[in-house]
């Protein structure tokens, strides 16, 4: 709904230059680590470097063919983050004698392949709108899967499923399908929700029956909290819905109702469930020796804070700290590990990269012309932002630590896969936003519009694009 003009310029060359820099960051981090550990340029370094470069170059070429006008900075930022994450996981592997980096590399390849597949299969993000309610069903199935016999309970949270010999976290994919559902539902029903309602002071309260989806989202997040014991995902799902309904209706009353529901749910959960109250106790009294030493206490957070402190302003240098002392240093606590070795200066650069990535997502939302795309881009970029906030806030003890992954950096295949798919969707939406609109006289003769917003507009757009391509 903005009047921002977009410039019809592909800017893929700009992306190539930035990609070079991003690859330099990713491969450079690995090189510094290798030099530090006196195992410079060994086989691991070459496999990891070559795979990363290869994957990203393929993606870049696909973008040149498939989404010529997509945002030029999203891919470089994501590449740099993924590269830094890989290097840090590799560095922790050397300290712990693990092979997590190989798995992460394999999952990066799978994730990039999935993102490319998304770019090829979904030619226009508006197609996804047709699957609004299917997405809802898929999300429900994905969220329920861990509770079935194939589900797996690790570290007290039941959010994994067993796939072959590995594990997978279906909730990560569910955040995408939920975003699609919310975007489809809200773009269709926005006006109905907006129309009615009583005014109380400066707030316009929604009608009770329009509260239905809000209550449903609240129940889902409470269900995740109670049945799967996962505080992080629960906050993520509810935050996603609140952000999207605020973007759709621009009503503050929704946010207030949401915050009230969340507070009520949180307080109730704190009273009823020991794992929640233990988390909160470990947050408030983190430095109490009793709390530090108790199982599931604050030892992990406190150790991470000591790591961050020993890093100081400029860090100990990659490979020279002891981030391996923290448990889950390569997944939940990767921010603490990076903060120790790169220091405040380095961690700020990383946080800024996330900020830039999220801002590009919102920029795509501003530029795109359809309500569904706007909501979807907002929702997807908001999940990345909220996830970063919850993780980094947890590690730095701003909020209680919850088990969410740091997008693109944490070791963990499902998170990587989901986030690369999000990137592919954001690239598609930004392409729709920046692609020059087909101008000129009316696009052909009118057709009776018997089906609403169905295949016809998308098909016509595509044929127009083909015409442009053959013309140039």
């Amino acid at each position: 709904m903005s009047d921002v003009l977009t410039v019809p310029k592909s800017r893929r060359n700009m992306e190539a230059v930035l990609l070079l820099l991003a690859l330099l960051v990713g491969v450079g981090a690995n090189m510094v680590i290798g030099l530090d550990q006196d195992r410079a340029f060994d086989a691991d370094f070459w496999t990891q470097g070559a795979t990363l470069v290869g994957l990203v170059l393929i993606f870049h070429i696909v973008l040149r063919i498939r989404a010529k006008y997509a945002d030029p900075v999203i891919l470089p930022i994501v590449t740099a983050l993924n590269g830094i994450g890989l290097a840090m996981i590799h560095r922790l592997d050397i300290a712990n004698n693990d092979t997590a980096a190989d798995r992460q590399l394999l999952w990066s390849a799978v994730a990039v392949a999935a993102a490319i597949a998304v770019l090829f299969v979904i030619k226009d993000h508006r197609i996804l709108r047709r699957y609004t309610y299917i997405s809802l069903i898929v999300s429900a199935i994905l969220l329920l899967l861990p509770l079935t016999p194939i589900g797996l309970e690790l570290n007290g949270a039941r959010i994994w499923i067993q796939v072959g010999s590995g594990t997978f976290q279906p909730g990560e994919i569910a955040k995408i399908t939920l975003a699609i559902f919310f975007a489809g539902y809200l773009s269709t029903n926005r006006d109905l929700i907006l129309l009615a309602g009583r005014k109380v002071g400066p707030l316009q309260l929604p009608r009770f029956k329009d509260l239905g989806p809000m209550v449903a989202a609240w129940l889902v997040s409470i269900g995740v909290l109670v049945l799967q014991r996962d505080l992080g995902s629960s906050i993520l799902f509810f935050g996603l819905f609140m952000a999207m309904i605020y973007v759709a209706t621009s009503r503050v009353s929704w946010v207030l109702i949401g915050v009230a529901l969340l507070t009520a749910g949180g307080l109730a959960a704190m009273q009823l469930f020991s794992h929640v109250s233990l988390r909160i106790d470990g947050w408030i009294n983190a430095f109490d020796p009793e709390v530090i030493n108790r199982p599931g206490g604050s030892w992990q957070v406190v150790q991470g804070l000591f790591g961050l402190a020993s890093g100081g302003l400029a860090g100990t240098g990659l490979g020279q700290g002891r981030p391996d002392l923290v448990i889950y240093a390569n997944s939940d606590m990767i921010i603490a590990a990076l903060g120790e070795e790169l220091g405040l200066i380095g961690i700020f650069a990383i946080v800024l990269m996330y900020v830039l990535l999220v801002s590009r997502g919102f920029r795509a939302a501003l530029g795109t012309r359809d309500g569904f795309g706007k909501l979807l881009a907002c929702g997807l970029s908001f999940t990345i932002a909220l996830q970063c906030f919850v993780v980094i806030g947890g590690v730095t003890r701003l909020i209680p630590l919850t088990g969410l992954t740091t997008p693109f950096m944490s070791a963990g295949g499902s998170s990587l896969l989901a986030n690369w798919i999000i990137v592919a969707l954001l690239l598609l939406i930004s392409e729709a936003a920046r692609r020059p609109a087909a101008v000129g006289p009316m696009g052909g003769p009118m057709v009776p519009a018997m089906q609403d917003a169905g295949a016809k507009p998308a098909a016509r757009k595509r044929s127009l694009r083909k015409k442009e391509a053959s013309g140039s």
Binding site: M1, L18, V25, V32, L194, G317, L342, G346, V447, M450
Partner: protein, 161 residues
């Protein structure tokens, strides 16, 4: 000794590289960050007018009278009027539309009219045949001035003060 010097250099060099990356990205998107004459959006600010006096003339005159009703001037529903309140209006053939158009060339949920500030905007909702404002097809939400025809299928509407 030499080794540790190299390592220290690499350590700071890497931090420098990280920031170089961030700054280049910001440089790449600076076009979006500047508000200059090239991508002027909406009404120029008082400061911009002071700098470039010619902007003042181009600035649209403030809305004389806010639109109070929408009126169908052509098509099957010709003559129908609808009072505008402060809530958005959905135009289309679907039953839930605020103004149900009995027009075979209109989509179920064709377009929406919504108020923002003191003006009304029209936005196409991905219709099959498109929405036309004063002769040009909508590609994004645009403000509607009273008297400018909005064409949806074979129906033409306009806002009246």
């Amino acid at each position: 000794m030499d080794g540790s010097l190299v390592l220290t250099l690499l350590r700071y060099g890497f931090l420098l590289l990280l920031w170089l990356m961030v700054i280049s990205v910001v440089g790449a998107i600076r076009r979006d960050l500047v508000v200059g004459s090239r991508n002027r959006t909406g009404t120029p600010t008082a400061r911009q007018i002071r700098k470039n006096p010619e902007l003042e003339k181009q600035a649209p005159a403030p809305a004389k009278l806010p639109a109070r009703q929408v009126c169908v001037t052509e098509g099957p529903l010709r003559g129908t009027t609808l009072e505008l309140a402060s809530s958005p209006i959905l135009l289309g053939r679907a039953q839930e539309a605020t103004l149900v158009l009995e027009d075979d060339y209109a989509s179920g949920r064709h377009a929406r009219l919504f108020p923002q500030g003191s003006r009304w905007f029209i936005e196409d909702l991905g219709s099959t045949n498109g929405t036309f404002l004063g002769g040009s097809q909508l590609t994004r939400a645009l403000p509607v001035e009273p008297g400018v025809p909005i064409r949806i299928g074979k129906t033409v509407l306009e806002l009246r003060p």
